[in-house]
Amino acid sequence: MSPSILLLLALALGLAGWLAARARAWTFKRAQPGVRLAALPSYHGWYVALWIVIPAVLFALVWSILSPNLVLQSVLASPAAADLPTFGLQRQTMLAEARNVALGNSPAVFNPAAADLVEPFRSALNFYSWIGLAATLVIAFLGGAWSFLRLRPDFTARTRVEKMVMTILLLASLVAILTTIGIVASLVFETVRFFGMVSPIDFLFGTQWNPDPMSNPLNPQGDRYGAIPLFWGTIFIGAIIAMIVAIPLGLMSAIYLTQYADPRVRAWVKPALEVLAGVPTVVYGYFAALTIAPGIRDIAVSLGVSNASSESALAAGLVMGVMIIPFVSSMADDSIAAVPGAMRDGSLAMGATSSETIRKVMIPAALPGIVAGVMLAVSRAIGETMIVVMAASTAANLSANPLDSMTTVTVQIVAMLTGEGSFDHPATLSAFALGFVLFLVTLGLNFIALRVVKRFREAYE
């Protein structure tokens, strides 16, 4: 019995409950024409329907987690499982093969010894799926019956339904928060393991990044895990080169669009700029690696820089800067447009020119919003991976020359996690430490940006 069929069944029962309860509420109304119901009949319907669907769906969810284990237990208890190897990879493979055949996902077993297990699996799966179906139906019925029996003319179904809906909304918002907490927890856990092997001092202040995934994990060589070149590369590409491109271009386009552009021009240019934000970053990566980076190398060579690399920080930074222009410009656009027209009129009425008005009144008034936009753009840029993976390189150089190849934190996270080291090797675990520090940095930037935006909102109220 697949989960989707269970879900459909629960919804169908819910619909039946809705109709029945609404009809019941109407009979109250007809029986005592002068009396007002405490809630509309449809709320009685919703009350019963929610009591049918929610417990049934919750049970089905729990059951789908529990039942594989119950199936496995009963298979292991069967006589055919007696000659299974007691532990190890082979035992796992045989069980998985037999299970797949029993489910009909694969035609036959590869290991003949597993063939005997197919039949116990099939019967156990069958048994537990019927149990699950029956239990779901019973729970749906109990929920429906209990709630249906509570219906009275003076039953406050509406307030109860609203409370239930509010609880569902609250749970929905909790999902995002719990996910964030879960991410942080898992990062912290692995980061602590890493710092058990490599000293945080080596990691945070070392200037050599050259982890060897093939080295002996018991001798982690802490001096190979200096993350300074990575953080420097991240800041140089994401926060310096990209911002040198994005801030002036974004700000100028926002000024043009809000202050000078004809509405018809604005109607075309603004969506076009927003399309830029929708381009997948991997496509920017191609553009950076195949077009910009070789172009920059050719220019550098023609200017006499003989050792110019074809993977330069400049190429990655330039393309990243173009990528985040829409972030800067749309935030700046919004905050300039939010400056009251009265400010602008006040300045113009004193004989200020448009450009004086923009420079001395509009931009200063919109500055908090612009700063917040830039901060969000920076945190976006330093978390960006694909462009640097494709256009920068994996060589960790501590250099201020934009034509050098450089690497960033995110690139090294990818390199370490997809590398050849085993999972508990410090080289692999270093990815979590890098991710954790990056997370803290972007969290801090977002936090500051949101505070600035909040203060900005209060300014004109």
């Binding site: 009129d345 004989g351 008034a365």
Partner: protein, 262 residues
């Protein structure tokens, strides 16, 4: 047709409008208005909402230029010079014809910077001392100096509504204009703040030509020497304030000032 009272003293006209029409798109907002704004008097524009008095006021320093759909026809002169002449610099015009708006709109800068803004952009002051003097003089004239002299670095938006409006008047004065246009300057203020602004207008009237748009007929009667009554985009009647309020020649003016409509 406009009725102009014939007992007006012969005063020098500071601004003179002749046959002015204003259109917003295809809608006509001002229909053939002609008026002389006298030197060193307060002229009040009264009339029901939507009658075009604010629109006409904004023509006098070309603030309608900021509205793309607005189109102005006819002649408006300042000291005999046509302000709609394409060769005329609108920046210079607005320095000579200042404006105070309905809602106080101080810049989100310090009190000092609010006043210094105009003199700075027009290059009035050569040094800090001179600028300080202009700021003090403007605030004194606006009757605000005593209240704010110890906190010139505070934000202008932190002042009360009435103080903000006097700050905006001080800001307009700082550019040393010849005409000051006021678009319902007291409509967002309480009666006490309103009284202070009216007092200030009386103080300023000997020095500048002031044009004030107001919804309050009592205010027009209190502060102005000349009154123009606008209705449906036309100027109905223009004359000495005392005549307009005691002895209007037009039935519509009579109906409006006695509160029969508007």
């Amino acid at each position: 047709m406009t009725v102009v009272h014939d007992n007006l003293e012969a005063t020098e006209a500071k601004m003179r409008a002749h046959d002015v029409n204003v259109f917003y798109g295809s809608k006509q907002a001002i229909d053939s208005v002609s008026i002389d704004i006298p030197q060193k008097y307060v002229t009040a524009f009264i009339g029901p909402s939507g009658c075009g008095k604010s629109t006409f006021l904004r023509c006098l320093n070309r603030m309608n230029d900021t509205i793309p759909a607005a189109r102005v026809e006819g002649d408006i002169t300042l000291d005999g010079e046509n302000i709609y002449n394409p060769k005329l610099d609108v920046v210079q015009l607005r320095a000579r014809v200042g404006m105070v708006f309905q809602k106080p709109n101080p810049f989100p800068k310090s009190i000092y910077e609010n006043i210094a803004y105009g003199p700075k952009i027009h290059g009035f002051a050569e040094g800090k001392d001179e600028l300080d003097a202009i700021v003090e003089k403007s605030l004194r004239r606006a009757g605000l100096w005593e209240e704010v002299k110890d906190r010139l670095t505070d934000s202008g938006t932190a002042l009360s509504g009435g103080q903000q409006q006097r700050l905006c008047i001080a800001r307009a004065i700082a550019v040393d204009p010849e005409v000051i246009l006021m678009d319902e300057p007291c409509s967002a203020l309480d009666p006490i703040a309103t009284a202070k602004i009216e007092e200030l207008i009386a103080d300023l009237s000997g020095r500048y030509a002031i044009v004030i748009v107001t919804h309050s007929m009592q205010q027009a009667a209190r502060v102005s020497q000349r009154t123009a009554f606008f209705h449906l985009g036309k100027m109905v009647e223009y004359g000495r304030t005392s005549d307009i309020f005691t002895n209007p020649l037009e039935q519509r003016t009579q109906d409006y000032i006695t509160g029969r409509y508007g």
